[in-house]
């Protein structure tokens, strides 16, 4: 377990931002160069889940928590099959780790996933900078390149706006999901087909889905079939789903035109639940466009209020775009607001049996205050089944 490497042996690395700001630190993970939008996450736990969240595709993640890597990595705490963040920026990479479930170090894990990172920089200063200047493109490099060149190349990367990243992270083939949630001592629960076959089918459109969403859909009593992002409404309806789930994912929702089109065609035909990018796509489909936030919401401590019962939930957030409240059309209810900046956190159309949330009720990592929404989706499907039968 002792994996002592001297900092001095690490290569120098630079982080260059599009606006010309440069930080010098040391290379962690794979050596080389990487690029993406530089964002920050204020969660104090769960770095492995965050790194493997497909929503972070083409983003370089700054962790505000100074020590990262303390509990190493393991095979359980993953939200997809690989690291999706395009780079990692930390104050202090823990080269040693200590946790009974750990199977390796974060540094080795980054190397295995070919993820370039930088450590030893003043991450608080970087966050203050991003807060005032906004999230922007950047490059991390441990190559022998001048800062000027890196800045120029970072500036040339443009913006996140208009980028469809969902197609790239989505599954290429449909598949069935059978895993339930994790519990201490016994790990993840596996469900057998005989049991799942009895359940209502939910088709989950994978724009970059986190596994814990699928696990919670299973735990809610549903059967889950995951389909590629570009699956048409026709193909989905052919599966005779009892409900459709629109997943989270990376990039600009407005650029996922095929997803928006599919969703438009599904509305009213089947109960729908959307999370994060899925929520934004649903909003677009209902006629409410999105806009880019200055530096986004990424963390595990955002207060969201259900405006119907005024209850506050502490939520997990990871989004750079938000639904524009002022253009939400009549008939669509804004059910939830983010209390930090009053942005839209939830939409609902009761008659169409659809609802969505901007935050991440599946947590992983983060507080699980909103996990009841999966149960709500199940109830919605059940109630639809009975009304469908009745009609």
């Amino acid at each position: 377990m002792s994996n002592q490497k001297n900092k001095a042996q690490r290569k120098r690395a630079l982080l260059a931002l599009a606006d010309g700001t440069v930080y010098e630190g040391v290379s962690i993970g794979a050596e080389g160069e990487t690029e993406g939008e530089v964002v920050f996450n204020t969660s104090m736990s769960g770095y492995q889940e965050i790194l493997t969240d497909p929503s972070y595709a083409f983003q370089m993640l700054t962790f505000t928590t100074p020590h990262i890597g303390n509990v190493g990595v393991n095979e359980e705490d993953v939200e997809s099959d690989r690291v999706h963040a395009s780079g990692i920026i930390v104050r202090e990479l823990s080269e040693h780790y200590s946790n009974y479930r750990a199977t390796g170090s974060l540094d080795d894990y980054l190397k295995d996933n070919n993820v370039v990172g930088i450590a030893g920089i003043d991450t608080r200063d970087l966050v203050l900078h991003l807060r005032s200047s906004g999230a922007q493109m950047g490059i991390i490099s441990s190559e022998d390149v001048s800062a000027e060149e890196l800045v120029a190349r970072a500036a040339a990367l443009g913006s996140m706006e208009g980028r469809d990243l969902a197609a790239a992270v989505s599954t290429q083939e449909p598949y069935d999901w059978k895993e339930g949630t994790w519990s201490l001592g016994s790990g993840y629960k596996e469900y057998d087909d005989a049991e799942l076959d009895k359940r209502p089918l939910v088709v989950a459109i994978d724009f970059g889905v986190k596994r814990n969403i699928l696990r919670l859909l299973i735990e809610a009593g549903l059967r889950v079939r995951v389909v590629p992002a570009a699956t048409s409404a026709e193909d989905i309806l052919a599966l005779k789903p009892a409900g459709v789930f629109l997943s989270n994912g990376p990039g600009d929702p407005a650029a996922v035109t095929y997803g928006i089109q599919t969703t438009r065609e599904l509305i009213g035909k089947v109960p729908i639940f959307g999370i994060c990018l899925g929520h934004q796509i649903l909003g677009e489909a209902l006629g409410a466009p999105t806009f880019k936030l200055k530096f986004g919401h990424r963390g595990g401590n955002h207060p969201v209020r259900d405006e119907r019962n005024k209850k506050v939930e502490i939520t997990v957030q990871n989004h750079g775009f938000a639904t524009d409240a002022s253009s939400v059309p009549d008939g669509v209810t804004i059910t939830h607001l983010n209390l930090n900046d009053n942005t839209v956190e939830g939409l609902e159309v009761v008659e169409s049996k659809l609802f969505s949330v901007q935050h991440h009720p599946e947590s992983s990592p983060g507080p699980r205050d909103a996990s009841y929404l999966f149960e709500k989706f199940y109830q919605l499907i059940e109630s639809n089944k009975s009304t469908s039968v009745a009609s």
Binding site: T65, S364, P365
Partner: protein, 1087 residues
């Protein structure tokens, strides 16, 4: 939903005197709550017996009762004030306990007082082991296997099922008194019996041992809409087995995955709901098996706590303030986050730094007590530090302790290289364990082996290894050629200049110069609750060696830095924090920008809104200089934080820092024996004969010249550390042998001890021209008892007008001659031969809060303005202080005080099994209480009851006094007999009493064999003990009597004067009129 409009008045109960397990964190919480509730327009009534608190300042509540926190007295307050509601969750266990008593006595029902914050059911469920366990089960959580027992027989059955080792946890005790680990059958009987004894309801829990498990705490809050949040997770570096108050802790939690952490979070929130904490904060403690992750709920406190104060300081989230607002009906989303102002309080703080809390111990004060830690809390204070990384925060915490420690290494642990010895030592739970562990690392022992020996998590050990490794690199370097990169990594690991200097073989200032050459300076960053996600306008700052500076000093021209007192310890605690807070308030009012520097998380001074800017930093020269360089203040106040900042005065001055108030040279003048003696001669003031000595032979020679008995002590002391009264040469030689260790390079001071003298404390303010005497405090104990331990009263009761005038004249002369600018405290002793000056301290003293509270003059505020350059005359004209102080003569002014206020001290002897309880020149009290009444006897009884003691109404009193006290004993025992008490005495005293015509029962001394006095004490046939011991030698007989009495909770008087005052009080109780209560605001209106 806004605040409740159906309630108008709110009763708040404080936590009383500072004791181990309940310190000034409850003043901090209380002050926040009082401010929050007043701001909402409620009428707030406060009961707290502790006069040194900020919360009992008359302007914080509408009515403040400085009365004992007992059911009887609080019931009187309720009867008189008829509050609509009682908020019981801000005054620690004391307030919860008295609330339950009030409920059980029907008082709450009778006067229709509603409980807010927590219900009686919730309090009882959380307290009662059985019901708590049921709730834990119902929440789907796990408790440790355990049994509640009330008898030895039940205990035996329980152990048969659990096995050894097991833990004892007594019910309803403070800081776990009476608890402990039982390793094997040989310890069974003694420890179980002691635990049962300590519990007020004779109930203990016998529990499976979780020794070596991880220990975690969550601070949670909930509002009436059932919104619930976790404010902070805290990880104990010291694994299970050591009381969390005695553990080094770190925030945020470092060694849990998110999956494990969310289980804790869900568990803590569901527990809070199930227990029924409707609004406010709670603390939930968990143990986690490091091998399997199995989680066990340890306990829950449905109130603000020491941990919630720590969590507030660690995150910037004001738990007590928010708890108060939630209690009156607000919900979390209706309240703003105080730090960002823009975002709501309904969130969970995210922190981008590491906080380390480290406890401060004072075992050296309790001779004969082994420094062992366990489930019963022993520490008297704590320091907190903030760094960007764990090693940085840890080393800053070490040097915040002010024990001379310069980092994780560099203390006594380095005096041995004996690996086997150290390995044995680290397996014992002691305050030195982590340092010894680092030492072993330095000696080449692997982290894996150390983990096996200590159960410290490997993550922490490997972080400490980084420090050890860099130290090694530095030690082979030199100051001339040390590389910038190496020096930078040392600083980033929190290494102090002093430590680096020692490793390099150079002075601290050479390291500072080197840093300056490399432009290696700390940057100051903000604590903002949100990891920089939102802008913050509250300058709550810490230093770190990170690349970019964040905090920019304001361009205010008039900035004053106030240096705080650091961690609480015996001799330096709440009273000094009170003064620092008053300085901040006063100077802020006068238009200065105030800057507080302190590292004690329990205090009001480290609340982010006490000063304009707060630096949460160690109070060492290096750290303070860095702040001064950053801020360029107009002045720095060193006289308010006790000995801590005073020690820095000369060095700060030498570095060009402007010290305001009395100059460091004047301070030194009063500390230098010879200079001070000649000054007294010049002023024609008397001093008891004295001398100094640098070694044993010199000391004996000096002693022979000035005569025994002697008072001896090392120079530069606070709280009487290592002081003693010596009656013969043999004792003197013994003392020198020990005390040289205490202060190696400073001489020992010897004074002729003044017997039969009354001691007097004087607090005064001087502006260079005018001297105003604030208070002359007459001690109840005779001279020889440390002034911090003595009881005293205002106004003085026995000193003649002439003596008062003489004291006042002497005080004026001393203040002017010493060129005091600000506060000064003088201690006098007077006996038949006249008035003697004992010592002069040109700084804030422990008695300032008491004097201020009883004379209605905010002396610390007045003096702060004087230090900033205002004259007393102009301050008086501006209305800062009222009539009582303008009198040219204190003697005249004090005549207008129509009441008597008595201060009594509170001692931690019950926590130090076997310590002698006799009072002497070494201060050992942790806190104080005040009793205020029309008469001195009434004041004394109130004070005495407030210390937690019950004065008996009938029974047998054991009397054993030294020869000198025998004359004074007569009138006291006569009163006891009149009151119907019978007398029990051993031979000598019995003879005296018989000769005086009293009926007395003789009892054997211990050495005469059973049945002896200790047997009688243990069987419960003695109700009170008067025992004034002879000399200071280890008189085991009387020591056993005293420690037995203390452990049994019997009223025990070790000075004849205190016994006299108590008996006067008992007379008063016997008259049976009961005690009226009156608020301090009403008392002060009489002036």
């Amino acid at each position: 939903m806004p605040k409740r409009s159906d309630i108008k008045s709110i009763l708040i109960i404080g936590s009383g005197p500072i004791v181990i397990g309940q310190a000034c964190e409850f003043d901090y919480s209380g002050v926040q709550a009082l401010k929050a509730l007043k701001e909402e327009g409620y009428r707030v009534i406060l009961v707290n017996s502790n006069p040194a608190t900020i919360m009992t300042d008359p302007n914080f509540a509408d009515r403040t009762y400085i009365e004992p926190i007992t059911c009887e007295f609080v019931a009187r307050v309720i009867e008189r004030e008829r509050p609509d509601v009682l908020l019981p969750t801000l005054g620690g266990q004391t307030a919860l306990n008295v609330t339950i008593e009030l409920d059980e006595a029907g008082v709450l029902e009778k006067y229709d007082v509603e409980l807010i914050g927590a219900s009686v059911d919730a309090i009882k469920t959380a307290e009662d082991r059985d019901s708590f366990k049921k709730v834990v089960d119902a929440c789907g959580l796990e408790s440790a296997k355990s049994f509640v027992v009330h008898t030895m027989a039940e205990a035996e059955q329980a152990v048969a099922s659990i096995g050894y080792p097991f833990i004892i946890r007594p019910s309803r005790t403070l800081g776990g008194a009476g608890g402990g680990t039982v390793e094997g059958p040989e310890e069974f009987k003694e420890k179980v019996a002691w635990g049962l004894e300590c519990s007020p309801i004779n109930e203990i829990l016998i529990e499976e041992s979780l020794l070596g498990w991880k220990e975690m705490e969550l601070e949670v809050m909930r509002d009436k809409k059932d919104n619930a949040v976790v404010i902070c997770g805290i990880e104990n570096i010291d694994p299970m087995g050591q009381h969390t108050g005695d553990s080094i802790t770190v925030a945020p939690i470092q060694t849990l995955t998110d999956k494990e952490y969310q289980l804790l979070r869900d568990g803590a929130l569901s527990l809070m709901r199930a227990i029924g904490v409707d609004t406010g904060g709670s603390n939930v403690q968990f143990a986690i098996d490091p091998q399997t992750g199995r989680q066990i709920v340890i306990e829950m406190n449905p109130r603000v706590s020491r941990s919630s104060a720590l969590a507030s300081k660690a995150t910037g989230f004001p738990i007590a303030k928010i708890a108060a607002k939630l209690a009156v009906g607000y919900s979390l989303d209706e309240l703003p986050n105080d730090i960002t102002k823009e975002t709501p309080a309904s969130f969970e703080p995210s922190i981008d730094y590491v906080v380390v809390k480290i406890p401060r111990f004072t075992f050296e004060k309790f001779q004969g007590v082994e420094a062992l830690l366990g489930t019963q809390m022993k520490s008297v204070g704590e320091a907190m530090s903030i760094g960007r990384t764990f090693p940085e925060a840890l080393q800053k915490a070490c040097r915040s302790l002010e024990t001379g420690r310069v980092g994780i290494l560099g203390g006594v642990e380095e005096q041995t290289g004996d690996i086997e010895l150290l390995k044995k030592q680290v397996q014992k739970l002691t305050p030195e364990r982590l340092y010894q562990t680092a030492r072993l690392m330095q000696l080449g022992v692997s982290e894996e082996e150390l983990h096996e020996l200590t159960a410290y998590d490997l993550w922490f050990l490997r972080e400490i290894r980084k420090i050890v490794d860099v130290e090694k690199e530095i030690s082979v370097s030199g100051i001339a050629n040390i590389e910038e990169a190496l020096l930078r990594s040392a600083k980033q690991l929190g290494m102090s200049d002093v430590r680096i200097g020692r490793l390099l073989g150079c002075k601290e200032d050479e390291v500072r110069a080197k840093r300056s050459e490399y432009n290696l300076r700390p940057s100051f960053k903000m604590v903002d609750t949100c990891a920089a996600e939102f802008a913050s306008n509250t300058p709550y700052l810490y230093s770190t060696y990170d690349s970019a500076p964040e905090s920019v000093p304001s361009d205010a021209k008039k900035k004053i830095i106030i240096l705080g007192g650091g961690p609480n310890r015996i001799g330096q605690g709440l009273e000094f924090d009170y003064c620092c807070v008053h300085a901040a308030f006063s100077l802020k009012d006068a238009g200065y920008e105030t800057i507080m520097v302190n590292c004690n998380p329990e205090t009001v001074s480290t609340d982010y809104d006490t000063s304009d800017r707060l630096y949460f930093e160690p109070l060492t020269l290096e750290d303070v200089l860095a702040i001064c360089e950053h801020e360029s203040p107009f002045g720095v106040v060193v006289q308010y934080g006790g000995q801590t900042p005073l020690r820095l005065a000369q060095a700060l001055k030498a570095a060009g820092v402007p010290i305001i108030g009395t100059s460091p040279d004047s301070i030194d003048l009063t500390e230098d024996r010879e200079q001070f003696s000649s000054l007294l001669t010049e002023l024609e003031l008397k001093q008891s004969p004295s001398g100094t000595a640098c070694n044993e032979e010199e000391a004996v020679a000096v002693a022979n010249k000035i005569g025994y008995p002697l008072m001896v002590r090392p120079s530069f002391v606070l709280g009487g550390r290592a002081m003693a009264i010596i009656t013969n040469e043999e004792e003197l030689r013994g003392y020198i042998a020990e005390s040289v260790e205490v202060s190696f390079d400073r001489p020992v001071l010897l004074d002729r001890f003044l017997s039969e003298a009354i001691e007097v404390d004087v607090d005064a303010v001087c502006d260079g021209d005018t001297v105003v005497v604030g208070g002359i405090l007459e001690h109840i104990e005779r001279a020889g008892v440390h002034s911090g331990d003595s009881s005293f009263m205002i106004p003085s009761q026995t000193l003649s007008a002439e003596v008062l005038q003489e004291i006042e004249n002497a005080t004026r002369a001393l203040a002017l001659r010493c060129e005091v600018r600000g506060l000064m405290n003088v201690q006098f002793a007077c006996n038949k031969s006249g008035l003697f000056v004992l010592e002069v301290n040109p700084r804030a003293s422990r008695s300032v809060p008491f004097v201020s509270k009883t004379t209605a003059v905010p002396w610390a505020k007045v003096a702060a303005r004087v230090m900033a350059g205002d004259s007393l005359q102009s301050l008086h004209e501006s209305g800062l202080y009222g009539d009582i102080a303008i009198h040219k003569s204190y003697r005249d002014a004090v005549k207008r005080i129509p009441y008597v206020a008595v201060k009594e001290s509170v001692f931690p002897f019950v926590k130090f099994h076997g310590a002698d309880t006799v009072l002497g020149p070494e201060m050992r009290s942790t806190g104080e209480v005040m009793g205020i009444d029309d008469t001195s006897a009434g004041g004394f009884v109130r004070a005495h009851v407030a210390t937690g003691m019950k004065l008996p109404q009938s029974g047998s009193v054991f009397v054993s006094v030294r020869d000198e006290d025998k004359d004074e004993l007569g009138p006291i025992v006569a009163k006891l007999v009149d009151l119907g008490f019978s007398l029990v005495a051993t031979e000598g005293t019995a003879k005296t009493l018989s000769a005086g015509g009293f009926t007395v029962e003789r009892v054997n001394k211990v050495r005469d064999g059973s049945p002896h006095i200790v047997d009688r004490l243990n069987e419960g046939s003695i109700c009170m003990v008067i025992n004034t011991p002879e000399g200071t030698g280890p008189l085991l007989d009387s020591r056993t009597i005293r420690s037995t009495s203390t452990q049994l909770g019997l009223p025990l008087f070790t000075t004849i004067a205190a016994a006299g005052a108590a008996v006067d009080g008992m007379e008063l109780i016997a008259q049976g009129q009961g005690f009226e209560v009156c608020s301090i605001q009403e008392f002060l209106q009489l002036l």
